[in-house]
Assembly symmetry: C2
Homo-oligomer: 194 residues x 2
Amino acid sequence: MPRAKAFDETAVLDRAADLFWDRGYEAVSIQDLVEHLGLSRSSLYDTFGGKQALYLAALDRYRLGDEATADPIQAFIDVHGSPRAGIAAYFDAVVDDAAANCLGCFVVNATAERAAHDPETAERTRASLDVFQAQFERAIRLGQEAGEIPADRDARALGRVLANTVYGLRVTARVSPDRTVLADVVAQTMRLLG
Amino acid sequence: MPRAKAFDETAVLDRAADLFWDRGYEAVSIQDLVEHLGLSRSSLYDTFGGKQALYLAALDRYRLGDEATADPIQAFIDVHGSPRAGIAAYFDAVVDDAAANCLGCFVVNATAERAAHDPETAERTRASLDVFQAQFERAIRLGQEAGEIPADRDARALGRVLANTVYGLRVTARVSPDRTVLADVVAQTMRLLG
DNA sequence: TTTGTTTTGGAACAATCATTCCAATACGGT
DNA sequence: ACCGTATTGGAATGATTGTTCCAAAACAAA
C-alpha cells in the first residue's frame, strides 16, 4: 500500500486560490506557493503538474465552490422567500464583501489578466460568467412568475445586465471600496426590475 | 549642444501602452519592450527610469489621451446635439470597440492586476474612474436641463451606474465579445435614464 | 522487521528576469 | 574639420523564474 499524502489536496487548492486571487498569476512564483501551501516543490509538481495546471485547478475550485450551494442567488431567494428580495439581498452581500476586502473577484481578475492569452482560462471564466448570468435570469423569471417583476420584461437581457453590474462592482471596489458608491450602483440597477 | 533623441517619446509611450494593455504588467519583459519599442535598453532606462516608471507613464498617456478631447462623452453629445443621444452613441461605440478587439480597457485591466498592490497604479486608476464617472454625471445633468432625463433623478448615482456598466462591459467583452450580449446590457442600462 | 511503493526535501537545471555599466557612436555647435 | 556631450548597442550583472531530478525518509501491508 502506498504512503498516504501528508496534505489535504482541496485545502491546498484553497490556499493556492487565495494567493492567485490576491496577486494574480504572473506575480505568484513557485517559491511563493511552496512557502504558503506547506508542501514541497516535488509534491506540488507531482500532484498538480505545474504552475498553470495548479492555477486552473484553483480557479475551478473557486468557481464550483466548496459548499453544496453552487447558486448563491437562489440561496438568498430561499432565505427571503421572495425572488426580488433575494436578488436585492445578494447585491447587498456583494457590496458588503467588496467593501470589506477589495480583492475583487477571482474570476473577474482571471478574465482581465489571462483570458485574452490563455484559452484554458478563457474557457473556464466564460463558463462561469454564463452560469452567473443564467442564475440571475432564472431568479428574474421566478420574480415574474411571482408577480414581483413585470412579465413583459426580457428576462435574459435583465440577467445579463445584472451580471454585468456585479462585474463592474468588483472592478470599482478594487480602487474605491466606498459603500456609498457601490450602494448607489445597486440602487439604480434594482430600478431596472420595475 | 547635446545630441537629439532618435525616437519620439510619446510614440514610444503609445507602443508601450499597447503592449502593457494587451499583456498586463508582469507578463511584459524588458526584452519585449526593447523589441517592440525600437529603442535600446540603455535609452529605455535613461529616458523612463525603469519598468514600473514606464508602465505608469504609459498608463498616464492612455488615461489623458492623445487628442485634445479628454471627454469622449461630451464629444458624442456635441456631435449628436443631444445629451441623451450622445450617451447612447457613446455606449454604442464602447460596444463596437469591445466587440472588435477584446482587449478590455487598459485602466480596468490595470485596476484588476495591480491596483491592490501598487499604490501608484491605484492612485491613477482611481483618478481615471472618478473622472469617468464625473463625465457621465455631467452629461446626465445636461440631459436633465434639456428635459430629456427626468429632473428628479439622482444625477450622481446615475453617473456611477453608467460608469459601472462600462467597466462590466469591458470585462464581459474579454471572454464573450458577443454583440447581442453587450447590446442587451446597454439597452437595459439606457432604460435607467427614464 | 522486512518489503514495496510514494512522498518528500533539497540540490541542480537552463532560461529569463530587471537592472547596471561601458566603450563606441552620432550629432549640434563652433 | 573639430570638439564636447548624450545617446546608443550590447555585454555582463546577480537574482529569480519554472521545472526536473534523485537519494533519503515515511508509511502501509506482510
